[in-house]
């Protein structure tokens, strides 16, 4: 009987530990999107509301929100979050935000390298360089110095559907 109880205890412990291991990912990131809706009130005034993406057509604005969660007991640092910019969208300039201090870099080569906007140059067919337009960015990278233990950080940016 005692043997049966100890086996059950051990099994329960494994089960609990297993669930714990599955639920508590040390550091995680999730992405979700919201759609900009302009609401016209009865008095004629307009206000902007962000709703779950549903009816999206060209020229609509979509906001992406990345949530980074540090589930560990320690501060993590040098956090870099990279998002591609879908080919059928383009980044809206200066739409990047976060609840933490951040810097942002951009890529014009599909995320191979990132640089500040004033250092991204594109060569045309004749070899002449021009400063890349925001519509030519195809990835962006947020950098956050630290995320304290057991805390969440949101970053967000907006794109327009081509």
């Amino acid at each position: 009987m005692r043997k049966i109880v100890s086996v059950a205890t051990v099994l329960s412990l494994f089960f609990v530990l297993g669930v714990y291991a599955k639920e508590i990912t040390p550091v995680s990131i999730t992405v979700h999107s919201l759609q900009k809706k302009t609401i016209v009130h009865k008095n004629g005034k307009k206000s902007v509301k962000w709703v779950k993406v549903a009816k999206v057509v060209p020229k609509d604005t979509v906001k992406y929100i990345d949530t980074i969660t540090n589930n560990t007991n320690k501060t993590i640092d040098n956090i870099k979050i990279r998002n591609p910019i879908n080919k059928n969208t383009f980044l809206i300039k200066n739409s990047e935000k976060s609840n933490m201090k951040f810097t942002v870099l951009y890529s014009i080569n599909g995320g191979k390298t990132f640089a500040p906007s004033n250092k991204l140059f594109i060569k045309n067919k004749k070899g002449k360089k021009h400063l890349a337009n925001v519509k030519e960015y195809n990835a962006l990278e947020f950098t956050i110095n630290k995320i304290p233990a057991h805390s969440k950080v949101n970053i967000e940016y907006q794109v327009k559907i081509k």
């Binding site: 990131i29 992405v31 057509v57 060209p58 990345d66 640092d77 591609p84 995320g111 195809n138």
Partner: protein, 362 residues
């Protein structure tokens, strides 16, 4: 991992449609996170993939290229008004074209002339690009349904027959017409597209966006009959009855006589007498190809009448002593005392056409 995530971007092509990303296109996004813990770089973490479909945006614009009602006269047939259409949605789309007379009191898109009569036998013709990119022509017909390629224009015409005078053709008649393009679900043209009531992230919804913004045809984006977001665009043009009102004044003056020549000449035998026909048009319609016939008094010779015939069109007044500038001997026939002058034009709005011929007193 980083390479794998971004490789799709490197092979991406740029959207070719000015009217936007095609309906049904998936927009996906997956983020990658890198970080350090205790100064040690940790393995990258990849997020979930956020995905939604671009919905079907139904958008089009239809404008008239006319800037005024087309001038017509009672009984004319196949008189044309002109329109331009563009499928500004993000998919090839079926559109049903219909045409009808506007009700009394309704205005065309370009002015405030109110409709007060109808035209007959209205028909439409459109030249457009079909879903396969082929140039096609539909019509003439009172209505038809065509599939117009995304981002392409169509040139349309409406033709109509004008009622005869007995049916009301009068100077103030205005007959406005309305061409309508309605987005429909298929080639039968029986079912109009409707905005999807439910919002779904993973399926293609229908969004009616006509008349909202960004129309790219003409100077005005929507006509007087347009309602935004109804899946329908209308353009209004029309016809206007114009009627010339003519008056003719015939005067004479002596050009020369055998004694005084041109110095204060008198109407004596051998004197040259000029007849001036002063034709004035105070109506709203121009006159073309007017003929004048006249019988010259038998005491006058018409030997040089043909060669002396002259005219001047579109002037403010006629004066017998001032000979018109253009010879019209080729348009003048003299048969005995009967004179016929052809191909005379008289502009509307009170303008004059001066026609002169010369005779000689026997």
């Amino acid at each position: 991992m980083k390479k794998a995530i971004f490789i799709s971007i490197l092979t991406a092509s740029v959207s070719l449609f000015a009217s936007g990303t095609q309906a049904g296109t998936d927009i996906t996004n997956s983020a990658t996170l890198s970080y350090s813990a205790g100064g040690v770089a940790q393995p990258d973490v990849t997020s979930n993939t956020d995905s939604f479909k671009v919905d079907k945006k139904i958008d089009m614009v239809l404008v008239t290229n006319d800037s005024n009602q087309v001038d017509v006269t009672p009984g004319q047939q196949d008189r044309i008004t002109n329109y331009e259409f563009k499928n500004e949605g993000n998919e090839n789309q079926y559109f049903k074209f219909t045409v009808d007379n506007l009700a009394n009191g309704k205005e065309a898109d370009y002015n405030s002339n109110k409709d007060n009569d109808d035209v007959k036998n209205l028909e439409i013709k459109c030249q457009y690009t079909d879903a396969d990119g082929n140039k096609k022509t539909a019509g003439w017909a009172n209505e038809f349904t065509i599939q117009v390629k995304q981002d392409t224009n169509a040139t349309c015409q409406v033709r109509a027959d004008i009622k005869t005078d007995a049916e009301g053709g009068k100077d103030t008649d205005v007959m406005n017409v309305e061409l309508t393009a309605t987005a429909v679900t298929d080639s039968s043209g029986n079912t109009a597209e409707k905005e999807s009531s439910s919002d779904t992230q993973d399926k293609v919804d229908v969004v009616l966006a006509d008349g909202v913004s960004g129309d790219t045809l003409g100077s005005s984006s929507s006509g007087k009959g347009d309602t935004p977001k109804d899946g329908k665009e209308v353009a209004r043009s029309g016809y206007k009855i114009v009627t010339p009102v003519l008056s003719v004044t015939k005067t004479s003056c002596v050009v020369s006589d055998p004694v005084n020549d041109t110095n204060n000449p008198k109407r004596i035998p051998g004197a040259i007498i000029r007849y001036m026909f002063d034709i004035k048009n105070t109506g709203t319609g121009n006159v073309s190809d007017l003929n004048i016939t006249d019988t010259i008094d038998s005491n006058l010779l018409t030997d040089n009448t043909k060669s002396s015939a002259k005219k001047e069109e579109n002037v403010d007044s006629c004066n017998c002593s001032a000979e018109p500038s253009s010879s019209i001997s080729d348009d003048t026939t003299v048969n005995g005392q009967d004179v016929t002058i052809e191909h005379i034009n008289v502009a509307n709005g009170g303008k004059h056409t001066c026609v002169s011929i010369e005779t000689e007193i026997k």
